[in-house]
């Protein structure tokens, strides 16, 4: 198995290393008849592209996607969609030194232990560039969801101690600010905080939040494939994520039942919830409310200050990492989190189509 596939009905398989010839993804199970072109995917890839501002590595990657299969006359054919993004700007010579020791906070040591050796160029498969396949596939999932009236909106909620103010929430700011915060004022504070981090040769963590609107009630499977469980896996599988919260998340542990329960009510003739502590999921199944989650992202492990570590041969050494590294992972991970959520939802939406005999009867009558 080896874990490079995600999803059952809408299944993606990613491949590629930081400094190999290319990275890519195969999307299997995309329904036929979806209008799709490279620009649809490029739009998402551009959101995670490096080199856009001073908090992002100056590596100048075009990250241009090519559709190699599965699309004919502008529409998906139902057969696998193969997407390829060449690595154009890799500089292998930068990385020769790190072959000899284990960078703290990186997967160098664990890859060596697991596989006996590793592709040490730029982190190889454990590089953040691995997320290119996720985002390219996520763009397709998001397009399917949009056709069904479902929209996702992820953004930076906090960087270090700087948190957005909900009252200043402005979706335009997400795409315009270098931090991807939906709050221009918080963004400025965060920029200053990151400047400080960089001056101190340090890095910062942060929180990404995502809101999903338009999900019908009934999506997610009871027991192991709960919508929140599948989201948790999808999100925790993003490199630097160390915690996942659904709805009120960690606050539920200090809450009481009388506060945390969301009363049901009726609005415009439809049953809905008065509050949304649950984050749109009850018993692992969407309840028709907005779905809300947060992920906590660790600070970039590549920092420029001196660090203690050991060499491959087991000698304690002091190292100073060189190269090009973002002082914060969060802004570029926003679209990755959004993509993983889109992939999860699409998969569970398709799964839900066979949950009721009455729907199945109608479906096969209609054809």
């Amino acid at each position: 198995m080896a874990g490079s596939s995600f999803g059952t009905h809408f299944r993606i398989t990613t491949w590629g290393e930081s400094h190999g010839k290319a990275l890519g993804v195969v999307v299997d199970g995309c329904p036929a008849g979806l209008p799709l072109c490279e620009a649809d995917i490029q739009e998402y890839l551009d959101r995670r592209k490096p080199g856009k501002n001073r908090f992002s590595t100056p590596r100048k990657e075009g990250d241009e996607v090519t559709i190699l299969s599965g699309v004919f006359e502008g529409k998906t054919t139902g057969t696998p969609i193969s997407l390829l993004v060449p690595n154009t700007s890799q500089k292998s010579h930068d990385y020769s030194e790190i072959a000899s020791y284990y960078r703290p906070g990186h997967a160098d040591y664990t890859f060596d232990e697991k596989y006996g050796f590793r592709d040490y160029r730029g982190g190889g498969r454990s590089s953040g560039r691995e997320t290119i396949g996720r985002v390219a596939a996520g763009a397709i999932a998001a397009k399917i969801l949009k056709e069904l009236g479902i929209t996702l909106c992820a953004y930076t909620k906090s960087i270090g101690p700087i948190t957005i103010d909900e009252s200043r929430f402005d979706p335009k700011a997400i795409l315009e600010t270098p931090t991807c915060m939906p709050d221009y004022i918080a963004n400025e504070a965060a920029e200053r905080y990151l400047d400080d981090c960089m001056q101190n040769l340090d890095s910062a963590g942060g929180v990404i939040e995502c809101r999903i609107d338009g999900v019908p009630a009934g999506i997610g499977e009871p027991v192991f494939d709960k919508l929140d469980a599948c989201l948790a896996k999808a999100l925790m599988s993003i490199g630097a994520v160390k915690a996942v919260e659904i709805g009120d998340g960690i606050r539920v542990s200090s809450s009481k039942g009388s506060q945390n329960n969301d009363p049901f009510t009726v609005k415009d003739g439809a049953i809905c919830k008065k509050t949304n502590h649950a984050g749109g999921i009850l018993g692992g199944i969407s309840d028709g409310s907005e779905i809300v989650f947060r992920v906590h992202v660790k600070p970039t492990p590549s920092i420029f200050s001196q660090q203690e570590t050991v060499s491959k041969t087991g000698e304690p050494i002091q190292v100073q990492i060189k190269g090009r590294h973002d002082p914060v992972i969060v802004p570029r991970a926003v679209v990755v989190a959004e993509s993983m959520a889109a992939l999860t939802l699409t998969d569970l939406l398709f799964e839900s189509m066979s949950s009721r005999m009455d729907n199945i009867r109608k479906f096969f009558d209609r054809k």
Copy 2:
């Protein structure tokens, strides 16, 4: 699919409702030759059994397990192990009323939306009794892990505002206190807090922590089947869990790289980490350190105070839930979290056996 299976190599499939004839689990992929008897499993089931103290529902379930297949002459045969636990104390008449409305914080509404109707007796499949299959299977996984030198220890870290003091950590207390706290003094405070909750017809949330020792480096797959990602899914799939943290968890988002990175060092000739902010997982792969995670559990949604909700026919009503309900879910969920972690680890351990060609060559030579 429908989500009642977990794992690929060591795969469990659970079944059963709160008030059906029985609940159970089929464990497929258990290696042959493991000594196994019903007492091994019963020990785990007894840890989640109701009726043990005043914070646990007085429902008197024996929850006695029978092994129906897969064990011969005291050892597993390699074929599926079917475990069955009869429901002996269900009182369906208690639940007739709740058929007519949607309990806040429960899955009544979402099941109706998904399936068109629901087994309303005691929550049916969404009942906490669903975890019996997880724990029964988890006991087998934990036994396998123990033979390989891996031990798991889960406990209650906090209930409402009461948190354990690490300096008073006493593992004996986990099995002896009604809260499953490893700290007798915190337990007393938590008991008082829960008494207050009950008097106020309210309920409390809390945090479960788990530490896993002895996991070799190299377990977990890069990208989607990371060890932490698989743990996150396993844990978030437990009914009332709303957040999962690995290692420092939510603290990483306000941390800096210089603090959060764990320096490598050498101890007794072996490479290890000086600190363990990462919680024993780097790049989704175990690094040989202790694995640490926490889950945040919401307050019991069944509270005895009056609540606002709607009837099945869509009329706003006031309800007061009757029956027998724990004021806190946490203590009985401790063994469930431990079980889900054991299942996840066992599955990924088996997966890791084919990750290196040199190991495979030796394996097939030896046979």
Copy 3:
């Protein structure tokens, strides 16, 4: 994994040994709202039950099924359906001898090699009784298919040299004759042939054929999950099956393109094929014609004449198998083949629901 599950959307997991406490199956992914009772399943189980006539082992098993979960108020709930059939007539003392040697044509040796030991009582998991779970689950799949207008009809096509005459095809005979042949005259000849076999302490092989009507065009996935590929796996997984044919099957290898191609034509305004050499499947996808397949079943390996073999300790010995054994496997395997086909089709039908964007749009509009 270990292979006790079949299907992705409609997934069954079987368990149980010949002489354990019980056998059973868990059906996960059955849609909610299907009327279902034990009699629906018992009808199928009775078709494979032993002791019905002189060619079937006199072992008197009731093989009575109990539904333990997943059905409420006479309808499936969408949650896993657990079915249990107790072993009531096992006589372990009959089997003590065969623990010491390897029966030719049986899985005794391969189980020992794979697992290090085996449950030798009546073949354990490799017994024909393992098919009880398949048939019980197949009954549910067949009921779903029937609601969608799809019917399956399997029967014995030949036993040893005796083959049915298509011109005498009478479906009533399938359930009435001891051979399950749809031809009373061929049945009589086959009965005489089997009597001869028994007198010679020998056994006979045969062919099962199955015809499936009403399958809409478009079922089956291109490439690896072709309808015929999935059927081939399902059928070859039945104990004694050694060959699977689709449509003209083995005859295609000596045919020519001009003979084997089925011309398309129009009938009652609908496109269809003039002939059906393809057996209803083109490119792995159903074409709307009748689906036809055949399986070749080996002679019962348990014969009463003296046989050469080796003991567990590796000494050449002569053995004479005792006990109760059918002289032919075919008649009781007819319903097993039909069940496996029903399970395969149901799974691929559900899979096909998300193959077109236009259907998905309509589906989520309607809800």
Copy 4:
């Protein structure tokens, strides 16, 4: 799902259409440390390459493979191996006509029914070129197996009425003759037969046989993932295959137990079978003997004589297919069958590593 993946532990995902930009495969779960270069894969691809002789389409495809990921310094890294083969010689204008009607024996109609439209250029995804991904991945599987002492040998057993004579079996002939027959004399007769077919604007079917040596006993899972069941799926998923036989295959149905049972014996101190009617598989598990299977391949559906069919709009028409087509599929499918068998075996070998607790204990001790 959509069926473009095969295998669980060693999982391949293929993509690409006959006339798209390229075809390829992603191999996930390949162990680290296998020496691998493009020549290893090219050798297999060259065996299926078109244009090698007068029975193979003159389409001049280089079919040159590039490794895009998963190999570093000449060895596999354990991460996904992405292989790409560009389409260089496609002539789309040849195919414009067939967009308007349904070719008999092809998947044109079923793709249209399933997906609503199709990529009609050269059959799109249903083209024989789809097998490029299978063969490229199969080359890697075969290399792993070879390192473990397992070798596969597939060849043409018959074409139309011409069958090889076992007494003239010469493995050299497989790679040297245009028919891939291991018998120079049968090859000549088959060449004459094919010349006749071509003159009559017709095509021929045939049989492929494969022998696998060196498989240890114990591979394959009981019940659904039997070795023979998995092989049957793998082989039936090859485009034109309509029947799969294991060991004696179809002959078992007219055999008797006394003939078909293989007596066990002892040779050089090891238990083995005196005969091999079973084809090396008992109870779905390898028994240490040679594994033998056959597949029956239908005649090329693209024939140049006039055929009856219907247009897309449902009008009966006469058509004469143009273009370049082999008069027989068999020779180029030989390496495809061998590849599918290698993939199946590798997957089940890895699965078998966790079947015994004693092996698992030793494995994790050694590390």
